[in-house]
């Protein structure tokens, strides 16, 4: 007797889930992700090319480089081939950022960036994984429908489906949670000396500044514990984001939603994340990781918060004051 009812309930949940995913919304958050991500690719690969580091890092050791991998190219690439590939990806990323032929440009950027990172897997960073993950979702999305030449001059503007942004929010939650649960050393986990950041910030390989004064030790202990809590809370953040965008009927979920809204959990989490990434950028040289992470933030802000932010920015400093 219960079976048909359960089936109907499941169908109902599925239908509402599909309605949520396929709902159309303002494309501005996705467009901001597109611009931030593509700009990060341009700047990162541009510095890689111009510094000459690509000439040694991406060339196979049989051709005089440091790589053990041929990547997608049989026999590897010569220095000239590496230059050609990097310039091609940079041009595609510029088109992506401008929103000119957005989807094809994003597709070329995504494939080209993968080709670059496969040329030497040892020289890959977490930011490569993140940029490829974001670019894949951008290719599938309607990120070119706002803040783009396509939208302004080619009549391609309009609303876009929500599901790519949903997947980007999931990506953010997984990024932080995955990073947090990996920090299982005694120097990270609360209850220990909380000295991880004290030592990490002075690692000669990554640090921008050679040494920290001893008086800063307690500050780094606080930063260590708060960073760890921030990261392992990644799934709580994701839950808060999703419940914030839904209209729960159950009183318990309504209370949870109201609680998150009252303490401004999502805004607080994003602000902490912003401070964390700017702090990393200020004190360490870790490639494009911070910018790649921040590229996802507009997706978490969503159309409503982005619209408010734009209105606030447009109101001018005098009125804001």
């Amino acid at each position: 007797m219960n079976r048909p009812l359960n089936r109907s309930a499941t169908q109902g949940r599925w239908a509402r889930f599909l309605a949520y995913l396929t709902a159309e919304e303002d494309a501005t958050p996705l467009a901001l992700v597109r611009i931030a991500c593509a700009t990060t690719v341009v700047l990162h690969l541009g510095s890689f090319l111009l510094s000459g580091a690509a000439d040694v890092a991406l060339v196979h050791r049989e051709l005089g480089g440091l790589s053990f991998s041929y990547g997608w190219f049989d026999g590897g690439l010569s220095v000239e081939g590496v230059h050609l590939l990097l310039v091609g990806v940079i041009v595609a990323a510029v088109f992506s950022a401008l929103g000119l032929f957005s989807r094809p440009a994003l597709l070329v950027t995504y494939l080209g960036y993968r080709a670059v990172s496969e040329l030497n897997p040892s020289a890959r960073g977490s930011y490569d994984n993140l940029l490829v993950d974001i670019l894949f979702l951008l290719v599938l999305s309607g990120a070119g429908r706002a803040l783009s030449i396509d939208a302004r001059y080619r009549g391609k503007g309009g609303l876009t489906a929500r599901w790519p942004r949903f997947l980007m929010m999931v990506q953010m939650g997984l990024l932080y949670f995955g990073s947090g649960i990996g920090k299982a050393s005694s120097t990270w986990v609360p209850g220990g000396p909380a000295s991880a950041l004290w030592f990490i910030l002075q690692q000669p390989t990554w640090a921008r500044f050679p040494g920290l004064p001893l008086w800063a030790y307690p500050l780094t202990q606080i930063a260590t514990t708060t960073t760890w809590i921030f990261e392992v809370s990644g799934l709580v953040f994701l839950f808060a984001l999703l419940i914030g965008e839904s209209e729960p009927v159950s009183p318990r979920l309504q209370r949870i939603k109201a609680f998150f809204a009252r303490i401004r959990f999502v805004e607080g989490y994003l602000l902490f994340g912003l401070a964390l990434h700017l702090g990393i950028e200020l004190t360490m040289e870790v490639g494009a990781f911070s910018w790649a992470s921040l590229a996802l933030y507009p997706a978490a802000l969503g159309p409503a918060r982005v619209a408010k932010l734009r209105a606030w920015l447009a109101s001018g400093p005098r009125r804001r004051g």
Partner: protein, 267 residues
Amino acid sequence: MAKRRKRRGKRPPTTAKAADQVPSGPRAGSTVESTAAATADRARGPEPAARRSGLARWLPHLIGAFVVFHVAASSLSMIPSLSRALDRRAWADERAQREMRVWSARFGMEQRAFEDELYEVVVTYQTVRDRALTPFEPYMRWTGQRQSWLMFNAGTQSSDRFGVRARDCASCPWETIYLHADPAHAWRAHQLGHPRVRSMIFRWGWPSYAERYDAGCRAIANLAFLDDPDTQYVECGFSRTTLHSPDLPDPPPPEWGRTVVVRRPAP
């Protein structure tokens, strides 16, 4: 036929429980209130014109299935891989040994027994993780996605700093030509100091990367031979640095070690 059409058009009942658990359409402020209802209808059952098109009817379901699949694949991939920990050579490193000492003490175990026990756990964990990921592995591989977010997992008192030394003859003194982040020894620093190259060299510091370190040093030596025709020997190495801290305000000086020496090839 009429029966099938009726079934397709039937909207599934929405229970309070379902509404609790699944997010609904956009909120006020998300600019598309009017379209939310339309898309909800589309998901429940397509409009008469669209019903004739199979793709339009199934597209929301395909999207839903893809999203569920993608989230499952990404979530499972995010669970950290410990494949590198299966190589127990890496456990001999001083930094790993320090962790073993701390955690074995916390668990009240003798260190050797703790390490053996931990190894068994790691093997089981990795086996289960790999099996769970198997159905999703082709998708992740073909789309190039990775969800490995292990970054700065440990902050340790010891750290390695890469350097390169050169000399013109077997009995000549070594001259440091590159030491990471040292402006006084900055040969090809624009290349060796780039974050991507540093990332690669950082890995060479671990025992399990010995082979790559050896080959990498040979490539760097070739650059040095190219730049200076007088150089006959190149040595790569790591300056093992102990960082200062409240527990150790005056650390010992860095020690140069783990060297690889490359001799200029005969013409």
